[in-house]
């Protein structure tokens, strides 16, 4: 990977972090309706995985999907406006944090149902194959989704038809409060890939380059018509499951230990060590992300609410 692309990945990771920190602030100020699921600490997974794609490739995201959306190249203004329920948002204020979608940009949507995207990926993969399009679909899901029925049906169907799907498991070790230690009798979720006849690997999800390498191999395989793969990014969410989470199911020490494994600090240090980045340039990149988020928030706050006259628009075509 060239230096320019590496710096772009760093910029994306900063943007995700700053977006989500800003989102927390806006929530605290009462400017966000509902709840949100933050991926702070997991930025390496979203950015490393999506960096392997062409712009015309597709993704299916999860309820913890801000990072995927930003990494797929979303317009921060429209994304923030959606977050704030405005008419200028990606979904005209109908979706919010949990349903941000940008079909034109290849983001086929976040999903409020755990595992909800896994069977949809089968249909997208089938459609791409039938139309002889050489795109791939990257389907994100969490550790919790791997224990649902749709996981079994979806991975099996993708495998028997050799569909161009890459299943990316973001294992942040907790399905709300239920730890993977309590919910799985196996150590690695990727071991399940073998049961469907597809390759499965587990990588350090906080190492953006390791994620990139593993997902690259899976994307290459999918694009070559050789079928689906699973990549498990082992990571950790620093924040609670959603805004109502008091974190009573894990220790402060555990959370602090994972903060020391911050994927952004780690990548930044690596780039400085490689001579690809200076402290000064790093600060510039961080500032660039910060400014972009501020501009997005300004745009969103100034945007109009959806009109009441339009309330039922979009229910039917």
């Amino acid at each position: 990977m060239n230096v320019e692309k590496k710096l772009e990945l760093l910029r994306q990771m900063y943007t995700i972090r700053i977006f989500e920190e800003k989102a927390e602030q806006l929530y605290a100020l009462g400017k966000i309706h509902g709840t949100m699921h933050l991926s702070i600490g997991m930025e390496g997974s979203a950015v490393g995985a999506i960096a392997t794609l062409r712009p015309d490739d597709l993704i299916l995201s999860t309820h913890r999907g801000h990072g995927h959306c930003i990494a797929k190249g979303a317009d921060l203004k429209r994304m923030t406006a959606e977050f704030m329920g405005k008419a200028t948002g990606y979904c005209r204020g109908r979706g919010g944090s949990m349903h941000i979608a940008d079909p034109e940009g290849g983001n086929l949507g976040a999903n409020g149902v755990v595992g909800g995207g896994i069977p949809i990926a089968v249909g997208v993969g089938l459609s791409l194959k039938m139309q002889k399009r050489d795109q791939v679909i990257l389907c994100f899901f969490g550790d919790g989704a791997a224990n649902l029925g749709p996981f079994h049906e979806g991975l099996n169907m993708a495998a028997i038809w050799k569909l161009p799907v890459v299943y990316v498991c973001e294992n942040n070790q907790y399905a709300m409060s239920c730890s993977t230690r309590r919910a799985f009798a196996i150590q690695r979720i990727s071991d399940r890939a073998a049961a469907y006849g597809m390759p499965g690997v587990t990588v350090d999800g906080n190492d953006v380059m390791a994620v990139y390498e593993a997902v690259s191999a899976a994307v290459k395989r999918a694009r070559a018509g050789e079928g689906p793969s699973m990549v498990e990014n082992f990571t950790y969410r620093w924040r609670g499951h959603s805004k109502s989470d008091a974190n009573v199911y894990r220790t402060r020490e555990e959370i602090e230990s994972w903060k020391k494994k911050c994927p952004i600090k780690r990548f930044r240090a690596l780039l400085i060590e490689e001579g690809a980045l200076t402290e000064e340039r790093a600060k510039q990149i961080e500032k660039q992300s910060y400014d972009a988020i501020e501009a997005a928030v300004t745009f969103a706050e100034a945007s109009p609410e959806p009109t009441l006259e339009s309330i039922e628009e979009g229910v039917y075509a």
Binding site: G95, L126, A317
Partner: protein, 328 residues
């Protein structure tokens, strides 16, 4: 006009649409070489091949996800769920995903798919293979629900459903598959949201769905010999509903009997009754609105018990006679 069965009419619709539009394909359990559990897709595998008539593992939710994802990215899939009872297994994708994606995305996505499935009792298949769950789907905004009662309607409504840009739940009836009727050979469509008067009469209106339309027509023929002229209205699509012909018919006759096979409580009849009561037809009613529906119980296996679990011709005749004679 030539007469073919309901099943043949459905097959002809599928064949003609697949020939017309390469984006149309069929996916479901045993729809390929087997020809579908009820034979509806027989011969299509031979004509269109395994790439367009796709057999799946026993994965109903997977089928629903497959048609959702394929429709979202430019195809026009027709899924099949072998028994309507198994729609419960597919419902997460249909209810939470497919029905809502367009709305949640601010109107930026289109999901043109059809999910075909046979409902109904009368084959001795007992409680897990006989349900009529149409109202589960009627209750979900974003879905359309179609229930053809004749071979002619089956073909025209299926072609219209395939060409529609929304997710359509297309509910067939096992007992109708062998029913014959006149069907034009060329492709034609019946708009989704167009009720039809199946028989005209001035003494009483029967609003019936699916196989109950056939039974109501039989009942109407019997009642005609007693001098009671029944008007039979078939909504054909439960959602969107074409209310106007129903309301006009009730205004004409002043008496209405609603007949469906699904359990009475929470069934579509309640919706129709409320709609009539809320309409201008209310002032024309000469008797209470009456519902005749399936008993509130699972479908039993025993032939006699099964027969009595859902409305039959004689039940319709008796209830309609009472209503027409002012005894209700």
């Amino acid at each position: 006009m030539r007469e073919i069965t309901y099943s043949e009419a459905l097959r002809e619709a599928l064949r003609q649409e697949m020939r017309r539009d390469e984006h149309v394909f069929i996916i479901g359990e045993d729809v390929g070489i087997y020809g579908g559990a009820f034979g509806v897709t027989r011969g299509l595998f031979e004509e269109f091949g395994e790439e367009r008539v796709i057999d799946t593992p026993i994965s109903e939710l997977g089928i629903a996800g497959a048609i959702t994802g394929a429709a979202l990215t430019g195809m026009r899939p027709v899924g099949e769920i072998m028994f309507m009872d198994f729609m419960t297994l597919a419902s997460e994708q249909l209810v939470n995903q497919a029905a809502k994606i367009r709305f949640m995305f601010g109107g930026k996505a289109t999901l043109p798919f059809v999910m075909r499935t046979p409902a109904g009792a009368g084959t001795g298949a007992a409680a897990q293979h006989s349900q009529s769950l149409e109202n589960w789907f009627v209750h979900i905004p974003g879905l359309k629900v179609v229930m053809p009662s004749t071979p002619y309607d089956a073909k025209g409504l299926l072609i219209a459903s395939i060409r529609d840009d929304n997710p359509v739940i297309f509910i067939e009836h096992k007992l109708l598959y062998r029913v014959k009727g006149p069907v034009p050979e060329e492709p034609y469509t019946i708009p989704l949201g167009a009720a039809e008067i199946k028989r005209e009469g001035q003494d009483l209106t029967i609003v019936a769905t699916s196989v109950m339309v056939q039974r109501s027509l039989e009942a109407a023929a019997q009642l005609a010999s007693e001098g009671i002229e029944v008007e039979v209205v078939d909504p054909r699509t439960l959602k969107p509903l074409d209310a106007e012909p129903i309301i006009r018919s009730v205004m004409k006759t002043g008496r209405v009997l609603i007949v469906h096979e699904a359990c009475k409580t929470g069934g579509y009849g309640g919706e129709l009754a409320a709609l009539i009561a809320e309409s201008e037809a209310f002032d024309y009613l000469e008797a209470p609105i009456v519902r005749l529906a399936g008993r509130d119980m699972p479908i039993p296996y025993n032939r006699t018990l099964e027969y009595h679990a859902v409305p039959q011709v004689e039940n319709i005749v008796a209830k309609a006679r009472e209503l027409a004679q002012g005894r209700i």
